[in-house]
Symmetry: D2
Subunit: 338 residues, 4 copies
């Protein structure tokens, strides 16, 4: 079976494993207070023009739990689009921290300033929660990306209403290296209050680098880190992995590769008249296939089929740092052979 | 100023106060384990054909917090309509207990079986919360009521999916005594798993009687009762108040009065060509007035103006056990004088 | 049966009920935003020399839940003595808000600066919770009171360690009017960050006045108030009740009466050679009786028997605003008749 | 610097890394639903005579959070010894799930049936939490182990009171392979309701295998798993690691090695007249050193210094799967050279 289902099905990029092997018997301080974490954080900070705090977390949902629990007071809520991971895919993890997630429809998986304004015009008094944070993903769950202009507009409306802006970057590499993106890591440190740089979906075994930009969010964060079970005993494992990713821009290279493969795949699909649910922007491709096509394709390929409440059945293909031209070719051959 | 804004602006019905006065120096066991609570519970049970447990709670939001915390496991969620009190008006109190509230649009403030089916068709796996309870209000936030047929249909879809059915009865008196309602208290004990009988909006100083029907919900409930701060030291105060309400059907009499006054008011409004947002069913009247009308009316009357996300500005008038014909006349005179 | 078991077994002091009756049909704004609450708050503020915020809460446990949830961040903890109400008698309500209660032994139910120092010397890093608040009761669960010197010493150690000082004043009236107390309400506003003035145990039907002294605790408090189910629809009921208590110093008069009756009772008990578990300080009397004495006394009197982990069986008698000389005499006669 | 500070300072045992390398590009199902997890679970189940469910969790604190949140109802509490990890070292993580941790003194870090009885004799009514689970660690935080007789006695008292028995096995390998232990993995499946098999402290990069024995704890567990952020996207990483540990009894071999090294170290220390705080039982050694000794030792060795509330300063040395005879020799030489 050929995997075009997700970007977290292989162990890790070879360089990541080699790097870890190189230090296999090295004694390191636990809980993320080691020199690898320090070094990795410095490498990331090299891309930013702001004083930030960086904490490595072993998973995206845990990073979201941790952040929402740390950033918000109990009566405060989060604004997110309906398709947002925290709204749609985390089994109530955020509500589990006591916070309401207010959803708006979004446009192609993206939050709009107007929707934030809409929420703020209704959530105006103490019988409703107090919205305090806007949660966005980049790339979104529909593979789209925010432009710098869009981020600036979100920042402005957040500032106007005293809202934090938080970016879930589980697929940030694909977003930043998309040809449709004009933003950099540095921009994120200018425009968000906190964001995380996803590792697991871009070549790491595991690990997300949570970047705290807003000074108000920094104090005592390690207490929350432990309190929510996110403090990792062998935190240095994440330090080592992020060292590799950011030492020679491997992070961006892997993201670019995934996008390039997706572009090729999309090109092939378009050429074969496949209907797209959403235009391809990053490494996720959403298309419509007949039930028969889905069934046949399932014999050889692993892929995702979503049933959207409003839009019905949609097929997702995904490319990754490990996707090869051969995979694309096999898919095209298969489609041609139908 | 004349109050047509809400049904909880006066201390209490005179009979309630008299009854309490009569026992003012009587020594009673605390925490709801007294003979007044026992007696009040027996009076309520006299209307039901099921073995139930009854716990008196000092407020509706607290009753909802308590119930959701007690009935659900941490990963479980609640299905409610958008306008539901727990979704719209409790400052995230339910999310504060860790549970997601999944909202559907509803029809005139009421939940439909089809909407429950719709949610259950999507919430099918462990990356989403597990819906476990359907929350309905009766009368709803839009003043509408459930018919027996509608409740049976909800019960059936709940049974099919293993869902609890819970009714917030903050305005249950107005619902049960509405000419549009064909259900009785006894029906609720047949068709719901738990419900509460609101007192504060029907003549009491405070107090809601939470009725646990489903045997599974009964054990250890008093632990939760204390854990959430709902165990009232002088619980007998609620017992005394509910004794009055259910001793001579005062509960129903007061509800009927509120509905009768609302019917008269609605008649007068219709006769004057006022546009109704929703037809009048219980003691809440939703109409559309011009900004000028609202402004003028505000000089003499206390009333509510809602700004609905989709439907814009709506005015609510409310009648209560204490509303007099004179109030209706004054409102009509005022409208005539415009 | 004669009640010497607790101070919350009667409806309320007659003046409280009369006052409420006088306003029975008055229309008041809901949710504590009415003129009675405003007036009652002003009367209380008249005793204080600090700008404070006052919120009325319907019960002590709920006031504690609300305060701890509002004042603390998720990883912060509370220091309390073992016998403290929140540690011993609230069914984990505080842990239910997510916060650890660190207990120390205490001296006669009172916290000592040394014990706080002891905790702070151990809770020094992020693998342990961050103590952030010292919880004390006054009068304590053992009937003792804090002197001004003791409070100042606690304040100093709290300031040194950045800890909030919070006083649960469920029995504050008995404390302030004890002949062993040298503190005033005004002192509390100087020395604590927040405290509440108990009503239910001093003549009210219900109601505790939560006083927020520290400016940091004030913003957005009404959001928490609603979020935890503590916002009372007919909040004016508490306003009315506290008006009576503080209009003519009834609050202090009732506390003094309870103490006077306790002093008389203690005198009689001492004269009869009854062994005291703790010296009498306020309206709670702790004595040791034989099982036979307990059994016989139970025929005529309602009283409390505690089983302390370390100290074994202890009998508590309690006097209240409603206790009469006759009750004392009956108890003495009964003891004499043994 | 030579590490005798903890057992989680190196990446992993070489066989673990080799095994992962061997599968580096293999496509696996995410979220723990892959064949490696299945296989690893089967290997573990081979040691047990009960139908169990096994879930791999990335850390011990997270496993505890997850388990307590899943096993208990909101008003229920946990009984643990004062030195227990959840009581002493998890920054209130368990209280963060809403549950009180009731502590007892313990004997050498171990829970006694008598202490459970003591708690149950006090926690008898609804004004206190309802104890529902006994939490023990094995090996304990003081390096001691439970004997089979002790476990049976705990099981009996738990059964008598309807309590769950849960074992935190972060250092289970050292416990089971201690010469002072007479229990097997199989015994744990007979005597506990749930336990976890620690990997991170016994040669893995990370991973604890949570074993659910009691059928009542099994349903819907994966919902909680996701809800608390414990569902790991590349769950197969833990499957792979546990495969290695249990394929050829490496798990036990590594535990035995750590104990053997500790025995040698203890022998040397005793021979040199070092005072032991507790006798050596597993891979943790607790001794008393002078401040001067501590200071000098710090120049060459990494070790832990605890400040116990009652017992003062205690030094902990720890051996692990990677400790060599050379390390022991160097320590002895150093002590001889003083």
């Amino acid at each position: 079976m050929i995997n075009i289902k997700n970007d977290y099905s292989e162990v890790a990029h070879p360089k990541v494993l080699e790097h870890i092997m190189a230090y296999s018997m090295q004694v390191n301080a636990p809980y993320g207070e080691d020199k690898h974490c320090l070094h990795a954080a410095q490498l990331i900070k090299g891309h930013l023009n702001r004083e930030v705090d960086i904490h490595f977390v072993s998973g995206g949902t845990l990073a979201n739990i941790l952040s929402m629990a740390a950033f918000l007071r109990p009566y405060q809520s989060i604004i997110a689009v309906e398709t947002a991971h925290i709204a749609d895919n985390e089994t109530g993890a955020i509500e589990g921290t006591g916070h309401k997630v207010i959803t708006v429809e979004g446009e192609d998986g993206k939050m709009t300033p107007k929707e934030i304004e809409g929420v703020m015009s209704i959530y105006t008094h103490e019988h409703k929660t107090q919205p305090a944070l806007v949660y966005i993903t980049n790339a979104t769950e529909l593979g789209t990306v925010y432009t710098k202009g869009e981020l600036i507009a979100l920042r402005e409306v957040c500032d106007e209403h005293g809202l934090l802006l938080y970016m879930d970057g589980a697929r940030l590499a694909a977003a930043l290296t998309s040809e449709f993106s004009d933003i950099s890591l540095g921009d994120l440190a200018e425009l968000t209050d906190a964001f995380f740089i996803g590792g697991a979906k871009n070549g790491l075994m595991f690990g997300e680098a949570l970047v705290l930009v807003n000074d108000r969010l920094k104090p005592d964060f390690r207490y929350m880190y432990k309190n929510r079970g996110a403090m990792f005993s062998k935190g240095f494992l994440m330090g080592m992995q992020f060292e590799v990713l950011f030492e020679n821009d491997l992070y961006f290279e892997l993201g670019r590769h995934a996008n390039r493969m997706a572009a090729l795949m999309a090109e092939g699909l378009l050429a074969r008249g496949i209907e797209f649910y959403k235009p391809r922007v990053t490494n996720q491709i959403f298309v419509r296939l007949s039930d028969e096509q889905i069934e046949r394709l399932s014999e050889k390929f692993l892929f995702e089929v979503f049933q959207y409440p409003k839009d019905g059945k949609v097929v997702r293909f995904i490319t990754t740092w490990s996707t090869t031209q051969e995979t694309i070719d096999l898919l095209m051959d298969f489609l041609d052979g139908q």
